[in-house]
């Protein structure tokens, strides 16, 4: 399903057939602090796109603006235009609640609710409708299977989710986001709190999930970006001439293989080879 087109438009932005997101001149500010600006990129459907870059470069900020999670921070404002398919994500008529239902999010630290495993998965379907018990049973099993967690927890669905290991908790959070049938899953450094084995399982899971979902992941781990993503966006922090303001900028967006082997911008090369960052 990967969009094979690598056409570039007049601004040099890589264009896909029916992209999920189109960001045009996007900037995000917190009160009078400009966190990131001039972001132009498209995110392809049914694939994994990685955002990489040093801390403070605005990659998480851009990720959070893709499902309007930034709305929850007082003073945060998104400028420019973010389209989700043809719809304007920040249209005054667009509902942030509906946006977040379609575009799920997995956080840096696993954040299961202090409820049973079953109730964690059932929460999303319950707040979005009135599913019957049998419908819920189906959703819970399907979501846990998709997140490769079913075999480990099927005999203890009523145990507290907090009794799971960190890696299991993170897969539970992924399963939980799948339960509301989203199109996109945003992952904000989903493995940074996990050990290498748990990380490997989540990476396998991402590769598995991209058949059915569009995934955007922020990661500090170069190898992870190289292993799981097809496309990579590299951000940096630019300091203004006065040296008192730091703003995130998108440096380069391309296929992951090109970004890691033959990037156009020397800053990308320095970063992916570990000379900077």
């Amino acid at each position: 399903m990967t969009a094979t087109s690598t056409e570039r438009n007049a601004q040099g932005v890589m264009e896909f057939i029916d992209p999920v997101f189109t960001l045009s001149d996007v900037a995000v500010s917190y009160s009078d602090f400009l966190a990131v600006s001039n972001v132009n990129l498209q995110i392809p459907s049914m694939d994994v796109t990685a955002f990489i870059g040093p801390s403070g470069c605005g990659k998480s900020t851009i990720l959070r603006s893709l499902n309007r999670t930034n709305d929850l921070i007082p003073g945060a404002k998104v400028h420019g235009k973010i389209s989700y398919h043809e719809a304007d994500l920040y249209d005054p008529k667009a509902s942030a609640v509906e946006v977040r239902r379609r575009i799920g999010m997995v956080f840096q630290k696993p954040n299961p609710f202090p409820k049973s495993i079953y109730e964690n998965i059932a929460f999303g379907p319950k707040v979005n409708g009135r599913p019957s018990k049998s419908e819920l049973d189906v959703i819970v099993e399907k979501s846990l299977r998709s997140a490769a967690l079913w075999d480990e927890v099927k005999d203890r669905l009523n145990d507290s989710a907090l009794s799971l290991s960190g890696g299991q908790q993170q897969r539970l959070c992924i399963a939980r986001s799948l339960a509301v049938d989203p199109e996109v899953i945003l992952m904000d450094e989903p493995c940074s709190a996990l050990d290498p084995i748990a990380t490997a399982r989540i990476e396998d899971l991402m590769i598995e999930l991209k058949r059915d979902y569009t995934i955007v992941i922020v990661t500090h781990n170069m190898q992870q970006a190289a292993r799981v993503s097809s496309y990579t966006a590299f951000f940096v922090t630019e300091v203004n001439p006065l040296g008192d303001r730091r703003t995130g900028k998108l440096v380069e967006f391309d296929s992951t293989s090109k970004m890691f082997s033959n990037p156009t911008d020397p800053r990308t090369e320095a970063y992916v080879t570990g000379k900077m960052g």
């Binding site: 954040n111 707040v127 986001s177």
Partner: protein, 294 residues
């Protein structure tokens, strides 16, 4: 190989300070416990020969052999119970509004916040005066009834309930709410289904402590015509009533010595009720702590 010594290098001065401090801490704890035990023992010693079913079931009487606290116990339960029913929902919802819905940097919010803090520090007797002027008499004119008294106690504990409920809500990790919102929950759904259930033990604990304070309060109700000699239980919000602290006061100020023992017995009953409430609060808090650690 260099010689490693693990012997203490603490100077004598530091050791002495450490020791003195321990002694001081131990002494403080013992003093506190001794004081509580002394009070309980005195009450028990003065009234043990009275401790029977009758002291709880009898109504006030001019004959010390017949005097009891039934109407006072029921009066206290009525007044404090109604006050809690009014103050807990309003207080919790106010806390939810201030924590989850009001803009954090809003002028209005900070004015409300400051005033709640101030209200929590207003002396009880002032609430009694307000109740007398506006509820018992004045615009509402409910008279000297259970309803008026309950309203005044509700006003009195409301700021405390709001403050403890806000703390309980703030103690719920924000990541839980973020997780709920990321699943397409509305703000209210996230609060109602995720934040509040985690905050309930904390809210309950703080509220019980507020309620037990109201249970021992007498000054405001004195102004609201809590009679000390009431020989019937309240039947509704418009009933006349008495409360435990006031009937204790009435018996203790009687010139006949027999009544002083009855006052001691009443104090013991009050203390037992308050301890029970506090134990429930401690139990709820411990259970919540254990749950969140699993």
């Amino acid at each position: 190989m260099s010689q490693v010594s693990l012997e203490s290098k603490l100077s004598t001065k530091r050791r002495v300070i450490d020791g003195v401090f321990r002694v001081f801490l131990t002494f403080s704890i013992i003093a506190t416990l001794a004081f509580i035990l002394f009070v309980l023992y005195t009450l028990w010693k003065d009234s043990k020969f009275l401790l029977s079913k009758e002291i709880v079931t009898n109504f006030p009487s001019n004959d010390p052999n017949d005097a009891g606290f039934q109407s006072a116990i029921f009066g206290s339960i009525w007044v404090v119970g109604v006050a809690a029913l009014v103050a807990l929902p309003i207080g919790t919802l106010t806390a939810v509004y201030l924590e989850e819905f009001a803009g954090k940097r809003n002028k209005l919010t900070s004015v409300i916040e400051t005033n709640i803090q101030n209200l929590a520090g207003v002396p009880a007797v002032v609430f009694g005066m307000i109740g007398l002027a506006f509820i018992a008499r004045g615009p509402l004119g409910w008279g000297f009834t259970v309803g008026s008294a309950a309203m005044v106690l509700a006003m009195m504990i409301l700021p405390v309930v709001i403050i403890v409920a806000r703390e309980a809500i703030r103690a719920v990790p924000p990541s839980h709410k973020d997780g709920a919102l990321a699943l397409g929950a509305t703000q209210w759904q996230a609060v109602y289904r995720i934040v509040l259930p985690s905050a309930v033990p904390g809210i309950a604990t703080g509220s019980i402590l507020a309620v037990s304070r109201a249970m021992g309060e007498s000054a405001p109700l004195l102004l609201l015509g809590a009679l000390s000699f009431v020989t019937f239980n309240p039947t509704g919000l418009d009933s006349q009533f008495t409360i435990l602290p006031l009937s204790i006061f009435k018996y203790a100020s009687d010139s006949r010595e027999e009544f002083h023992y009855i006052a001691s017995a009443g104090s013991l009953i009050l203390v037992v009720i308050l301890f029970t409430l506090n134990f429930i609060a401690i139990f709820l808090r411990d259970r919540a702590n254990r749950k969140s650690r699993v």
